[in-house]
């Protein structure tokens, strides 16, 4: 006598533990992995907050990587509570020991008035464009949607920022602001790959916008064609999720640092000199800020810019790409950033060296005392930019 659907359902109900939507809602944060086993089109209409999505037809193939621990608590749900029962049998057959099915499914969850999320739905073209991201469990469509809603600000449209902007744009960071007031010069093209020969004399923000949108029209480029100064820094950086610092002066760097710390915006910092680069990520109050690292700027002769000292074009390229990597982790909330670590790159040795950075408990910008003082409207005094002059001026030159 062949078994019917009713028989199979009865067996599944007898085998699988069922929990109510309220039971699931009452689970502590991370109390169980909640998996939505419906089809893509159903998921896109809305789902439980924090749920993973594995269509029932992919459960066997995908659940082991989503839930490696077979003793971890797992709750499955579908639209009405039937498909999740059968999917739960599959998990038990795979050796999962703590599987439940949510009775009544997403319909009952919604009718109980419990909260649910509607995911950002990627267009067919976006699904194809970002398919290599969508395949990575740490990114997926939720991470890609997060990138598309993210805003990154890049300071300077030069050598560091060129590869950073290209990769952020390619990755689908939805809004990229660019602060620059310069025009493209022939001497830029040895490293500033955002620009091209036929754009010499063109405003850099416009040249950058053309390159970025030619690569990815999803990206909105916001040009800030002005010099970053004390009067405009708060207005310019407001609303951005991460800042890529490609500045070339200490005045701008300290200005940016102080404003970003006050607004709690992470800054991915890099600087270059000939064959060397330095890189770190400043996450306010989690790690040190630029003033913790260098409380005062060096005298100009000890820190000449690239226009004086020169730089191997690929060095800002490499450092800029590492900045993009840091910014993407900040935006996605994955991995470990370089907060509290300074990476030195030496192109001649092809060596990376890591140094430990610490917060300065007396920092005039990010210390507890500085935060309290700002909140009371009387910020701590900050040392002036006037750098002490070296007694014997440094003469640039020699073997490098």
């Amino acid at each position: 006598m062949p078994r019917t659907y009713a028989d199979l359902l009865r067996e599944a109900r007898a085998q699988i533990r069922e929990v109510s939507p309220h039971d699931v809602d009452a689970l502590p944060e991370g109390g169980a992995t909640v998996i939505d086993v419906r089809e893509d089109s159903e998921w896109e209409q809305g789902h439980l907050p924090g749920a993973l999505h594995i269509s029932k037809s992919y459960v066997e193939q995908q659940v082991e990587s989503a839930v490696p621990d077979r003793d971890a608590p797992v709750v499955l749900y579908c639209a009405g509570g039937v498909r999740s029962l059968f999917a739960a049998q599959t998990l038990e057959a795979l050796g999962y020991t703590n599987v439940a099915s949510m009775s009544g499914g997403f319909q009952q969850w919604k009718s109980a008035g419990l909260p649910w999320d509607k995911p950002v739905v990627l267009s067919a073209e976006q699904k194809q464009r970002y398919s290599r991201h969508l395949l990575i469990p740490e990114i997926g469509s939720a991470g890609q949607a997060r990138l598309l809603e993210s805003k990154a600000l890049i300071i300077g449209a030069g050598g560091l920022v060129s590869p950073a902007a290209l990769y952020l744009a390619a990755a689908g960071v939805g809004t990229i602001g660019i602060v620059d007031f310069d025009v493209v010069d022939l001497s830029n093209l040895q490293r500033q790959i955002l620009h091209t020969n036929d754009r010499i004399g063109e405003r850099k923000v416009e040249s950058a916008r053309k390159t970025i949108n030619a690569l990815n029209p999803d990206v909105t480029v916001i040009p800030h064609e002005e010099m970053l100064v004390a009067e405009n820094v708060d207005r310019i950086i407001a609303g951005y999720d991460v800042i890529i610092d490609g500045t070339d002066t200490f005045e701008t760097r300290y200005l940016l640092n102080d404003a970003a710390v006050a607004k709690n915006i992470p800054v991915v910092h890099a600087s270059v000199f000939r064959f060397e680069g330095q890189l770190t990520t400043f996450i306010p109050y989690e790690g040190p800020c630029y003033r913790c690292l260098y409380p005062t700027p060096p005298p100009p002769e000890l820190a000449p810019g690239c226009s004086v000292a020169g730089v191997l074009g690929v060095v800002p390229g490499i450092m800029g790409m590492l900045q993009a990597n840091e910014a993407l982790k900040v935006l996605l909330g994955i991995g470990d950033t370089l907060s509290g670590r300074l990476v030195l790159f030496d192109a001649l040795d092809t060596s990376f060296t890591e140094l430990k950075l610490r917060r300065d408990p007396a920092c005039p910008v990010c210390s507890t005392e500085a935060v309290a003082a700002r909140a009371e409207g009387r910020p701590l005094p900050i040392p002036s930019f006037a750098a002490p002059a070296a007694e014997q001026p440094f003469v640039l030159g020699g073997p490098a």
Partner: protein, 93 residues
């Protein structure tokens, strides 16, 4: 002897060397040995009061000496001492 790593910007002051080997039981002694051998470095590394300039960081085996014992930080044989001034660039013109 400890190895002192010299950043590019200071190399002209030490005959173009990328690193120099110096004796000294503390960071201060190593810095003294360095500035004795290469007097041009003194004003770049130290204030008139003999303290480390705040724009030059000194690391011993990757740790900032400001959070160890400053110039009194002990140096063991083969420790790596790294001088690191702030860098300007930015690859803008």
């Amino acid at each position: 002897m400890s190895v002192v790593k010299i950043p590019t910007v200071l190399r002209p002051q030490v005959g173009g060397n990328k690193e120099v080997e110096l004796a000294g039981a503390t960071v201060g002694e190593v810095v003294d040995a360095l500035t004795a051998a290469y007097p041009g470095l003194k004003s770049q590394l130290l204030t008139v009061d003999g303290e480390l300039n705040r724009f030059v960081n000194v690391y011993v085996n990757g740790q900032d000496v400001r959070y160890l014992d400053g110039l009194a930080t002990a140096i063991a044989e083969r420790d790596e001492v790294r001088l690191l001034p702030a860098m300007a660039g930015g690859a803008k013109p």
